[in-house]
Amino acid sequence: MFLLLLQNAIADALNSSEWVFPIAECFHIAAFAWSIGLIAIVDLRLFGVGIGHSTPPQILKATAPWTLIGLAVVLLSGPILFLSDPRMYLHNPSFVFKMYALALAIIFNYTIHRKVASSDSSSQGVRVLVGAVSLALWVSVVFGGLFIAFA
């Protein structure tokens, strides 16, 4: 109950200006493009496409800090969007799907994906599989986000 009241208070604050939502959304979009794109560079390298003179661990090491910055901006701007109308989002099946996909994608990214990408000795089959799962998870997140408006 308290949470609902708090959410309403925050929503009122967010909705008091017509600029807060679009600006937060711009940050959300720019930052997701950056972070998912950087993860995609690692995934493509796992497939054997992209910066061939560098090994996957080298590319992961070079992109990881920037990916993290992008994800931080995404995960800060996302809740702002959510809090503008929590009830709508919680009842939106695409949003619920997106949250599951996002949780899976982040967990996968910082466990299996990181382990395989940072190893010089992982086999090509494992690399392709992990890259494909990673891409599929992040693409699901993007689809889920867009379909919120169409659910």
Binding site: W34, A40, I51, W66, V142
Partner: protein
């Protein structure tokens, strides 16, 4: 003339069908986003390398040349989906200030590419052999980041402008959605154009 072109193209059988489809349109939009993510990451990495902020152990030539092909695939996906979306609502987009701004920014990004093509993009090996990263390469990267980020934001802005209904001839989906909102209450995200 542009307006009549916009009206003609949106009423071709292909774009009329696309506009009316409940599923294809959001899928095209999602793929547009996926393309942005791919392309955006590649652009970011290229620009950060040119600025000397990331991947400093890799040569500029490696990063620029080897990301070029996947970057172009990302751009191709984004542009294809973008044309599909704009074409199906061409008349509405014609009036949209953010869409017009976006087109101007595209023109600027093409000019940026042409201006810096010979000195930066066509010959990244020369940048590696210079003692520091040349100032014009850094300028090119900074402009690229600024322009592409602005383009993404303008793209989102398109959905925030209400189309001038009295001037639009196409039956758009948001007209039906308005009835839905009446029935269900205001439960749709702000700013989404239907």
């Amino acid at each position: 003339m542009l307006l009549s072109f916009a009206q003609w193209i949106q009423f071709t059988a292909f774009f009329t069908a696309l506009r009316g489809s409940a599923n294809i349109y959001p899928i095209v939009m999602s793929l547009h986003m996926v393309g942005i993510a791919l392309f955006g990451g590649m652009i970011l990495m290229t620009d950060l390398r040119l600025l000397g902020w990331a991947m400093r152990k890799r040569s500029i030539a490696d990063v620029v040349e080897q990301l070029r092909v996947p970057k172009r695939w990302g751009l191709l996906l984004t542009v294809t989906c973008g044309i599909l979306m704009a074409g199906s609502k061409a008349e509405e987009y014609y009036y949209n200030a953010f869409f017009r701004t976006k087109l101007i920014l595209f023109a600027l990004v093409i000019i940026q590419e042409l201006v810096f093509y010979r000195s930066v993009y066509a010959n990244p090996a020369a940048l590696d052999s210079s003692p520091g990263i040349p100032a014009n390469a850094k300028l090119a990267a900074a402009l690229s980041l600024l322009l592409w980020t602005s383009i993404a934001c303008c793209g989102r802005g398109i959905g925030y402008i209400e189309p001038p209904l009295d001037k639009i001839h196409a039956q758009l989906r948001f007209v039906n959605t308005a009835a839905l909102v009446d029935a269900r209450g205001p439960s749709l995200p702000k700013g989404w154009d239907y």
